[in-house]
């Protein structure tokens, strides 16, 4: 079951996800949430994965789709607060080479300034 919260922080849209990001795991998908932000014209999106306890290949696919959709809208999508498990998943699938991700929240937010 995925829960989410969206808020603005220093001009950046933060999408905070919690719970399981799995096939059939929620009514709202990450993809829809990101699309919503892009349609509002948001250009800087930070996905906070700190509360995500479980993610399957569908979740990874959602992340990839979010990333490419953001690109098409000339927006930037970055990740923060990866748990060890999610970091492992990104490494094994070599998606770690695709995503820009940060350990700390402040570091992630200020990276958008550059």
């Amino acid at each position: 079951m995925m829960n989410h919260r969206v808020y603005e922080k220093s001009g950046i849209s933060v999408l905070e996800l919690k719970g399981s990001i799995t096939m059939g795991g929620g009514d709202v998908t990450m993809r829809d949430l990101i699309k919503g932000l892009l349609e509002q014209g948001k250009k800087q999106i930070l996905v906070d994965l700190g509360g995500v306890s479980f993610m399957d290949s569908t979740g990874l696919g959602e992340l990839v789709a979010a990333y490419t959709t953001a690109r098409h809208h000339d927006a930037t999508l970055k990740l923060v607060n990866l748990t060890k498990k999610i970091h492992d998943l990104l490494t094994i699938t070599q998606l770690a080479t695709v995503f820009e991700y940060y350990e700390g929240f402040d570091e992630a937010v200020s990276s958008f300034k550059n």
Binding site: M23, G24, F54, D56, S57, G61, V64, I92, T93, V98
Partner: protein, 152 residues
């Protein structure tokens, strides 16, 4: 292991083809893991493999047809833990599988399920049951300390 400490068991769960049962399978695996026991650091990855296989059975195998069945089997025998997931579909040739790590596949949203299963289990084979169902058979060696997680 002495006979009294062995945990030989065989579980079969047959449900209609729907993703709502994934948590049932996941919970049962968690219980079995405590009994067997499965190494704690591997449990989440084995659970992930189970879910991937069930997703495939429901979506690709049974094509979301709720009148079809999915069966999940879990078996502990000697030092091997095996999970089998059966669907009523036509199966597929493993030749269709692409390496999701290749640059041309990296940005595709799909195609990582079986790759992850192969990373996180010690053996994954496809099979056809006596009654014609298609299945994936995933095994974990219980006495190996080899860390599959760090594999490749």
């Amino acid at each position: 292991m002495g006979p009294e400490t062995r945990n030989d068991l065989k579980i079969s769960i047959r449900v209609r083809s729907h993703l709502r049962y994934s948590d049932l399978f996941h919970t049962v695996l968690g219980q079995v893991a405590r009994l067997v026991p499965l190494p704690a650091e591997r449990l989440d990855w084995i659970a992930l493999s189970l879910r991937e296989a069930v997703n495939n059975a429901v979506l690709h195998g049974n094509k979301n047809d709720f009148s079809k069945w999915v069966e999940v089997e879990m078996e502990v025998s000697g030092t091997t833990f095996t999970i089998r997931v059966w669907d009523e579909g036509p199966g597929f040739s493993p030749g269709v599988l692409l390496d999701p790590r290749r640059p041309e596949n990296l940005f595709k949203p799909n195609g990582r399920g079986i790759f992850l299963i192969r990373q996180f289990t010690d053996r994954a084979d496809f099979a056809r049951s006596a009654d014609g169902r298609f299945g994936i058979c995933m095994s974990v060696d219980l006495d190996s300390n080899e860390d599959k997680e760090a594999g490749e």
